[in-house]
Amino acid sequence: MKVLVLGNSHVACLRIANQNRYQGKTHYEFIARGQGRGGLKGVDIRDGKLFHARPKQFNGWYADELSTFDAFVFTGSATPQQPDQAYSSALLRTWKTDLLTRHDALRLSSELVRQLNKPCIILPRPFPKAGQAEAMSYSTHKADTQWANDWIGEGITYARLPEETVVDRKAQTDPKYLLEDGSHGNELFGATCLNEVDKILKDP
């Protein structure tokens, strides 16, 4: 199976893990641009190929037909949370439209599903480092993920962050899975996430 991973700096841990630690059989390729330089902003899918006005700004790029990939993974953003306030039905519709047209991972996933009918997975960035801030429970993250998948639909799957990477069953990352900056995953985190993606692709 051949999978293309796209995103911002959070792609780094996946690529390093793929080189050094990952032992699965999936063939992964990676494309990334730091969020400070725009992340995936301006990337488009045209005639089944990736398009950007300045592809050289990206680390990695793929100019050929995207149909050679079996699936796509987007990483670097957070999972939408279930509303905790009352929103009108019109607002909820507008929100979904906004996400699918303006949120890069969802916009591109939606387009890939439409043009190529291939599965798209959105892998969230790591939770904050344990102890940095008050964290919601991991079960809330599971519920949010389930809700996002039911609500967004469109053939797009939000992945749960692997439970083994969190501490005290809360949405906070065990420091052993993070780089020193406390916000980016390390090689171990990357390998765990690639295994999680494999699980979803095997049993969507």
């Binding site: 780094a12 730091g34 039905s89 929100w95």
Partner: protein, 350 residues
């Protein structure tokens, strides 16, 4: 013996404080009672001019609190269209102090929340926020649920805030005399149908406005004793008047009464201050230069000058305790970007 004027400073004399100065150099217009710490929560409600204060606080990295927030990922355009983050909760304009009292009574369960909903062409409108949804609600139930959400959020704003900024806008109002509540707009204008039996015009007098505002503030302090208030009067003239007066005369009468109420409360209560945005925009000294050509809307230049004055006066009184030039989070963001670039360079071997 010196006469009492001899010891006064420059700002007390028209010649030195105004006549001898460029209008842009006039200073010390506000002597703030309270230091607003950057960590302290400020909520803004009232007539439309209040939204500029919220925006200016956010821009300078103060803690403007919104308790009714849009969902994550909603675009800025949609946020504006659905009236999120205009005021600290989605109340829409609270033009009068009696409307403020009504919202406060609902939030504190002192009065029942009305169940009136207006229907037009299959869409449903909240009489107390008739323009809050761009095309109305899908059902009466949805409209009522949304109103309850806003009331709950309004209560949270009262409970959590350190400062409640309220802009007094109008004296003229419309009430339902049969059901004993007030509308922010005359039924039949933005939505609803006018009924001359139940819908009556009221032009509030000084005492009614003062009482409603005093009672609102006292009620809010009953659930948040630390809450302090900063009052402003909207400099925006009336769009229309139902009084028999010319709209210009009605505007001056309304604003004068509102200004007098604010003055009375700020002078007599230690927890109330008044910020003179009304004077900055409307004083003849500024020659009407802060209004758009319609002589009603305040132009961005005027808004900017008012808000610059707000922060300048805080610094003059309490010292240079914040950097007015620092854009929100710029240094933190650039540091984060640098870190992100490092991860990619390492991962992609460049």
């Amino acid at each position: 013996m010196k006469n009492p004027y001899e010891s006064l400073g420059e700002k007390s004399f028209w010649k030195t404080a105004v006549a001898n100065k460029s209008m842009y150099d006039i200073s010390e217009l506000w002597d703030p009672k309270f230091k607003i710490g950057k960590e302290q929560k400020v909520v803004t409600f009232g007539s439309c001019f209040a939204q500029h204060i919220g925006k200016a606080l956010k821009k300078r990295d103060f803690k403007w609190l919104s308790t009714e927030t849009p969902p994550w990922g909603l675009s800025e355009d949609s946020e504006k269209e659905f009236n999120y983050n205009i005021f600290s909760a989605r109340t829409g304009n609270i033009y009068t102090t009696t409307l403020l009292k009504q919202w406060t009574d609902w939030a504190l369960d002192a009065k029942p929340v009305p169940d009136e909903v207006w229907e037009k062409d299959g869409r449903f409108f909240d009489p107390f926020r008739p323009t809050v949804e761009p095309n109305g609600f899908a059902s009466a139930q949805e409209a009522q649920q949304s109103l309850r959400q806003t009331i709950s959020s309004f209560r949270s704003a009262i409970e959590e805030a350190n400062f409640f900024v309220f802009t007094l806008g109008l004296t003229e109002s419309w009430v339902n005399v049969e059901r004993n509540y007030e509308y922010p707009m005359c039924p039949g204008t933005a939505a609803g149908t006018f009924d001359e039996t139940s819908h009556k015009f009221v032009n509030l007098n000084f005492q009614q406005i003062l009482n409603a505002l005093s009672q609102s503030m006292e009620a809010m302090q009953s659930i948040n004793p630390k809450l302090k208030f900063i009052l402003t009067v909207s400099p925006v003239p009336l769009t229309a008047t139902k009084s028999a007066q010319h709209v210009l005369v009605a505007t001056m009468a309304s604003k004068s009464i509102l200004r007098a109420v604010a003055d009375q409360l700020a002078k007599n209560r230690s927890y109330v201050d008044y910020f003179p945005s009304y004077e900055i925009i409307n004083s003849p000294v500024y020659r009407g230069s802060f209004f758009e050509p319609n002589q009603r809307s305040v132009n961005p230049h005027g808004v900017g000058l008012v808000m610059d004055m707000f922060f300048k006066c805080l610094v003059e009184k309490f010292g240079d305790y914040f950097d007015t030039q620092n854009p929100v989070g710029s240094s933190a963001k650039s540091a984060e970007d640098e870190v992100c670039e490092e991860q990619l360079l390492e991962a992609f071997g460049k």
